[in-house]
Symmetry: C2
Subunit: 455 residues, 2 copies
DNA sequence: GATGTAAACATGTTTATAAT
DNA sequence: ATTATAAACATGTTTACATC
């Protein structure tokens, strides 16, 4: 108990039915899992929370029959038709999506508002002009698991090297903009019966980033909420099964956040409802059929130029065992990897910055991620924004300044909005962004580039 | 230590320079606040993370001189010009914003993508067509604290009843869509030298929701990141000063989340950078110059119709002292409130649902919030969606189903995307929303409406 | 009723560290 | 080098409860 982490209680010892943050170590939560039924009321039906929504859906009738007003019975009659298989390796659902139709709304006009800085400020929201009184049952319009079909227990006898076939689905540029047809095109590729984790075509287990890519690739509009990704993992991988902890959820979030191939998008699903966050594949990831390495923080020795007095340290323990590339290798170790290899073989020669043109971020459409390919491109001139531009999606790290580091924010205060400048640098830097100054992504590092590209 | 909460460690005992989650009870964090300097690199400049951004900013040059590439020295020379006053009641900044200009981008066209369900899927992002190489110093364009002006220690001798004057700023409808001029119009109203907390014109301290409203009202585009709201509170209220804890930040977040007058918007500030979340006043709040009560959960006795087997209980301790309307009343108690009043006087007659037309959500533009006014409108027919529609922004609660309650999700599984349906209902319901089914906001309450309106 | 406060919890971001 | 894992932390949502 002395070394109990403050957050999530190491995410261990939780049953599969418990959420990640159940915090079993909390004395408030031990042995007290009785059902709780708060009554959320809301017998009124609010309008869109944003004014843009009203403008962007000009045909929306303020008094149309609200599609949300449905009785419980309808849902109950449908609730049992979707089954969830978790009992074993062969427990996968057939992904029987109807063929897609061209999206008639792709060319629709829209409204947008603009910030005073000229930023277009657009809101994700639903289009309510075409809603039916109870579109819940308009299953023909959505790619959904068919509840009327018998369930298929697919045996995992056909692992079709899923990621290696993604390159054959080089999507046209037109599909890069939220194309719904992309989903159905790829649905058969990711054969639902194949266990991508611990597959035969690749040594070791499939990385999380690959699996997330697959989950989103299969999803409609290439996006899913976090819970949907969790569910996909539970149904299609062993990550969720292989341990009683919820570390796999942590890993999913980690990869979602750190890998530039996944972006969070907010979508307003109804009037007055809070927007829902989705994780979506970036167009680059869709176009290239892969995501790049979830590159992350690399330690740098040099301190920043400006170190504010408020600089805080990230307090970390130092002796915990935090995993590694093959903490599960004891059960999935591949024969071609030797346990006696020196560590130096994992440290390749330093990558060089990519000097590829903008439209050539993925010069090598290698179907397998990170083949340790070193780009033959020469080291580009440093500080050449022309060549650096457009390289984010190929690397996991963003160009945001480091969190918990006073150097960034202290030096940026004067450039921020009068209410936005932070007296202390305490949060992830992205949230320090000022509405009045876009140029908050200054480089805090004066060292040579440490995030390098394989291309 | 035995009763240490699992999250945020009660947010106590933290100095003002510490962030809320510093968790002083953690053994990992005690007495170890040394500066930390991770080097975030990113010498490359990525493109927009979303494809929409490329479309929506068609003039954007992929190779334009990146405005982010600025050297540290520039920022350092400016960093010390913004001062932060926290030492006392009179420590407020003059809010000297330049007069606003009409936003030339208000009528600009935009692009939008659409989901396969027809939802318009728009992304907040920056418009890079007009960027200067170093717009950091284009102070003339932004409403910013003038670093070149001498600082004014305004004595709080002019508390101009700030909220009561908001009604005089009934904004035209055109301003409801992210109008930058709104900010400057109201800037003088919220006199910077006035201490809104513990003001004279209102009994007791100003509610958080009012203060947040003011902070956002003053901000450009009526939006601020969370840290900006924190900063505003530190400079303009006593909430942050009155205690060494960070409970005031918790209260701010609580109000932001629960009050429908505040909405989170995501804005992409640069190519490849993570989107920044802002909190923005809803157009309704702007239009009516106020936000409504941060109505929140009200206990209901009746259980939901469908209670899934996975229904989880929210584990709460029961004996903690959790505040109240006047935990600070010992120092700010108003003479007209008696401590001997029975509790019954705080329970007014039940509010009735508003039957106002859609454009009349605020039939009484009362400048003071919640005057306990009961709408004379007759009780509308229950289940009439026409009359319930459009009432969200006037009440703090949304129509989302309750979290930690299996009833909603269990009954909605069949309507969700095949990857989105959750095997367990464990999170806030908004994140369970399926991309393929918008109708997730079904009513879980079968009781009479409990969220009622004053209008 | 409204409000403040605490807290549980989910979600998102980042750093640390070990294995390979 | 990539990857998995743990964890700290920030942010966002919701419920509980005390006070008036
Ligand atoms: Mg990401
Ligand atoms: Mg809100």
């Amino acid at each position: 108990m002395a070394h109990l982490p403050m957050d999530r209680a190491s995410e261990h010892t939780l049953s599969a039915q418990q959420t990640e943050s159940s915090s079993p170590d909390s004395i408030y939560q031990l042995n007290s899992l009785q059902p709780y039924n708060p009554s959320h009321q809301a017998e009124h039906w609010p309008r869109f929370r944003s004014h843009q929504a009203m403008i962007m859906a000009p045909l929306h009738q303020p008094c149309f029959p609200n599609p949300f007003v449905v009785d419980h019975g309808q849902y109950e009659s449908n609730a049992n038709n979707t089954h969830h298989y978790q009992d074993g390796q062969a427990a996968y659902l057939d992904n029987l999506c109807p063929p897609s139709r061209p999206d008639p709304t792709m060319a629709n006009p829209c409204m947008a508002s603009f910030t005073s800085e000229g930023r277009r400020q657009l809101e994700v929201h639903s289009d309510w002009t075409g809603l039916q009184p109870s579109p819940v049952f308009k299953v023909d319009e959505i790619c959904e698991f068919p509840t009327h079909l018998p369930f298929v227990h697919a045996v995992q006898n056909t692992p079709p090297s899923p990621l290696s076939t993604i390159s054959s689905y080089e999507s046209p540029e037109s599909l890069a903009v939220a194309s719904p047809t992309m989903t159905v095109q790829t649905v058969d590729q990711f054969s639902p019966g194949s266990s991508e984790d611990d597959r035969e075509d690749q040594p070791g287990p499939t990385p999380y980033s690959h699996l997330i890519f697959r989950a989103l690739k299969e999803a409609k509009d290439n996006k899913l909420p976090l819970q949907g990704i969790y569910n996909w993992f539970e149904r299609n991988t062993d990550k969720a099964k292989s341990s009683g902890s919820k570390g796999w959820q942590n890993s999913i979030r980690h990869n979602l956040s750190m890998n530039a191939g996944f972006e969070a998008v907010k979508e307003e699903l109804g009037p007055g409802k809070k927007a829902v966050n989705f994780w979506r594949l970036t167009p680059e990831a869709i176009r290239h059929g892969q995501v790049q390495s979830t590159t992350r923080y690399r330690k740098q020795a040099s301190a920043r130029k400006v170190l504010g007095a408020n600089a805080r340290a990230v307090q970390r323990q130092r002796t915990e065992i935090k995993g590694g590339n093959s903490l599960k290798a004891v059960k999935t170790r591949h024969p071609n990897t030797s346990c006696d290899e020196p560590n130096e073989i994992y440290h390749r020669q330093p990558m060089i910055l990519s000097s590829c043109p903008v439209d050539d971020h993925y010069p090598r459409p290698d179907p397998q991620m990170m083949p340790h390919y070193i780009s033959p491109a020469l080291a580009p001139p440093i500080d050449n924004a022309l060549q650096r531009y457009g390289m984010d999606s190929v690397i996991g790290c963003t160009n945001l300044p480091p969190a918990h580091n006073g150097s960034f924010y202290d030096s940026m205060r004067a450039t921020l909005d009068n209410e936005s400048f932070a007296p202390r640098p305490a949060a992830h830097a992205g949230w320090y962004a000022s509405p009045s100054d876009h140029n908050i992504a200054m480089m805090t590092g004066s060292d040579a580039p440490v995030d390098l590209h394989h291309f």
